[in-house]
Subunit: 362 residues, 2 copies
C-alpha cells in the first residue's frame, strides 16, 4: 500500500471560513456542468445488464473527494442516473440495486468532517478510503464507476531534482513550472506522466470490464504552451514569497526548496497518456462548457478564500503556520492591484477537460 511523501497535503479541512467545504464553489460549478455529460454517458454507454452480477451491487468511487458538498452531489447524481438506467433495462422482479460509495482522498484529508456531512437519509452504503490514488486502493474488479474531478493535476510527489541544488532542474526562486527552464518543466511533466500511468494502471485493475470512469482534468487552455502557461495566481504567490525573502521574513532556502505539486497538462498530453494505456477506450473527451456567468463576478475576498482553501495546508506544511496570514494578506494586495480578476471574467484560465473512459474487456 502507499505512503504519502512530504510536500503533499489535502485541501483545508474543518468547516471554518477558509475551509474547502466553504470555498469550493468554482469546482462545484464544474461538477454541476459535468452532470449532464455524466447522465448522458450512463444512459448511453453503461452496459448495466453485463455489469451487474447476481449480487445486485453497484460500487462507485470518488477519488480525491476532499470535503464539502461537491462529492455528495457528484455521487448522488451518478446513483440517480444508474437507477434510471437499471429501471429501464431490467425487469422489476430482479430486485433493487444496492449502491456502495467509496470516498477517497489522502490520509491528511479531513475525513471526520466529510463523514459528519453525509446525509442521514442517504440511499447508499458509504466508506472513506485514505490513500494516494496513484496506487491501488481497491480489490480487483470491485468498482463499476469511478469519478475523479479537479484532482489529477495534483502530483503524487515533488520530483527530487527540483530541490537538488546540483541538478539542472533546480527550481531556484520558483514554485511551479511556468516560464521555468526546460529541465524544470521536463521534471514536472515526467512526474505527471508517471502519475497518470500509475493511476490508469491501478484503475484498470479495480474496474470491472465495461466499468466507466469520468474525469474532469484541469488542463492548459487550447493553444497555450505548457512551458509558458501562467496560472496568474501562482505567479503572484511566487512574487509574494520572494518579496518575503527580500524582507527577511522567510529564508531564501525555504523558497528555493518549495515547489507546488501541481501540473496542468495540455489536452493532447492527456490524450497521449490515456492511449498509451491499452485497458481503456476513450468514449468522450471534450472541454466543459460552463453556462455564461450570471450575477456578480467573484470578489477579491472570495478568490483569496478559495486559494487559501486549496494552498494553505501545502504552504503551512513547508513554511509553518506562522506565515499564512501574512502571505495571503500580501497576495490579496497583489490581486487588488493586478488586472487578474478582470481578466478572469473575460478569458478562461484553464481548460476543464471532461473525459469518459470505459474499461475494455480483457
Amino acid at each position: 500500500m502507499n505512503c504519502i511523501p512530504t510536500g503533499i497535503s489535502a485541501m483545508k479541512g474543518g468547516d471554518g471560513p477558509y475551509s474547502y467545504t466553504n470555498n469550493s464553489s468554482f469546482q462545484r460549478q464544474g461538477v454541476e456542468t459535468a452532470k449532464v455529460l455524466i447522465n448522458e454517458d450512463i444512459a448511453e454507454k453503461l452496459d448495466i445488464n453485463e455489469l451487474i452480477s447476481s449480487a445486485k451491487l453497484f460500487n462507485i468511487a470518488d477519488l480525491g473527494c476532499s470535503v464539502g458538498p461537491n462529492t455528495i452531489i457528484v455521487v448522488e447524481n451518478i446513483i440517480e442516473s444508474v437507477k434510471l438506467k437499471y429501471q429501464s433495462f431490467c425487469h422489476n422482479n430482479q430486485g433493487a440495486l444496492e449502491f456502495q460509495v467509496f470516498f477517497n482522498d489522502i490520509p491528511s484529508n479531513d475525513f471526520n468532517v466529510l463523514f459528519k456531512s453525509f446525509p442521514s437519509d442517504r440511499q447508499y452504503y458509504a466508506a472513506g478510503v485514505p490513500g494516494l490514488f496513484q496506487g491501488r486502493l481497491f480489490p480487483k474488479a470491485s468498482l463499476h464507476f469511478v469519478h475523479c474531478s479537479y484532482a489529477l493535476h495534483w502530483l503524487s510527489k515533488i520530483p527530487k531534482e527540483l530541490t537538488n541544488k546540483t541538478s539542472p532542474a533546480w527550481n531556484k526562486g520558483r514554485i511551479y513550472p511556468a516560464n521555468a527552464s526546460d529541465d524544470v518543466w521536463e521534471a514536472y511533466s515526467a512526474q505527471f506522466a508517471k502519475d497518470i500511468e500509475s493511476f490508469l494502471n491501478a484503475r484498470a485493475q479495480e474496474l470491472v470490464s465495461g466499468g466507466l470512469m469520468a474525469l474532469i482534468i484541469s488542463c492548459l487552455p487550447d493553444g497555450s504552451s505548457v512551458k509558458f502557461f501562467d496560472l496568474g495566481f501562482n505567479d503572484l504567490l511566487e512574487k509574494c514569497l520572494n518579496q518575503m525573502v527580500v524582507e527577511g521574513v522567510v529564508s531564501e532556502d525555504m523558497v528555493d526548496s518549495f515547489n507546488l505539486p501541481q501540473y496542468h497538462p495540455s489536452k493532447q498530453e492527456v490524450c497521449t497518456l490515456i492511449q498509451r494505456n491499452l485497458c481503456f477506450s476513450i468514449e468522450r473527451m471534450e472541454p466543459l462548457v460552463r453556462p455564461a456567468r450570471k450575477g456578480i463576478a467573484p470578489t477579491v475576498e472570495m478568490v483569496i478564500s478559495t486559494l487559501r482553501a486549496v494552498y494553505q495546508e501545502i504552504i503551512a506544511g513547508h513554511f509553518g503556520d506562522d506565515i499564512i496570514d501574512e502571505l495571503f494578506d500580501r497576495l490579496k494586495k497583489k490581486v487588488v492591484v493586478s488586472d487578474i480578476l478582470s481578466q478572469s471574467t473575460d478569458k478562461s484560465w484553464m481548460l476543464e477537460l471532461y473525459v469518459l473512459l470505459k474499461r475494455k474487456v480483457d
Copy 2:
C-alpha cells in the same frame, strides 16, 4: 441509513494523554487473549472453499473499532489466520486472496487519527465506515468475517423514559442501571435487547452464508444479578456528580437527565437474544480467560486515564468540557480512598464473553 441520537459519543480521539489510542491496554489484553480462539475458529470452522468466489476477495469488518492499535492487531491476526487456511485448503494455482477491511465506528469517532495510524506496508485494502452498527452498514452478503469487541454494551440511545420526570423509569440522581428501580432496569434491558436484535438482523443481511462473526461482549460476572451489579467506577463517578450538585458546581437537573448509554448483560441474556435470531448458529460461547497478571498492578493514574478515554466525550457532550478536569480529579481522589483497585486485582469486575457465530445458509 442511520442517525446518531444525542447522548452517544465515541471514545476520546486524538493521540493525547487521555486518548483511547494511548489508554486501551485493558481492551488490548482482551483482544490478545481472544487471538488464540479466533485462530482456532478460523482453522476449524471457516469453510473457505465455499466462501471464496472467483473474485478471490475476503471482506472483513471491525465494528466499533475506535482508534489506536487494537483494531489493527485484530484485523492483521484475522488476515494471517485466513491466509493460512486458504493456503492449506486451496491449490496454489488459484491465485492469491485479496483482503478488504472495513473499520466501523460512529461518525464522531476520530477517523482522521485512525487513518493516519494504518501501517503503510499493510497487505489489505482499508476503508472507514461511519455509522451505528445497530443499523445496516454494508451491502447484502458482502462480508466474510465480522469482528466486534468491547462495543456491544454501548446502547444505540438512552431510553426516553429514563429522563422523563413523569415516568416510573425516571432515573433521578443515578447515571446507570445498577441498584436502580425495576422500571429503570427494564428500560435499559429492553433497549439492549432491541439493539442486539437490530445488530444481528443487520449482520444476517451483510454476512455471506457460512460467514463468521467473533464477538467479545462485556457481561456481568457469573452469578451476579443484573439489577444489583455495580461496576464500581460508575458508582464513584455518580457519587462525584451528586457531590458537585450539592456544592452547586453542576445543576441537579443536569445530573437527573444524564444516563450512561451502557448495559452489561448476563451470559444467559446474550445467549437468549442470539438464539432468538434464527440466522446464526452459536459455534462457541465461553468466557475469555486472561493469562495471570504479571508485573505491577495498574496505578490510579492509569485507571483514571482509561476511564477518561472512555467516558470523557459522553460526559462533555452532556455537561460541557468545563467540568471534565474537576470531575476526574474528584474521581481520582475517590478511587484512592476506596478499595476498588485492590479488589480489582483479586476479582473480575466483568465477564468478557467470547462468542463465535456462523451465518446459516438461508
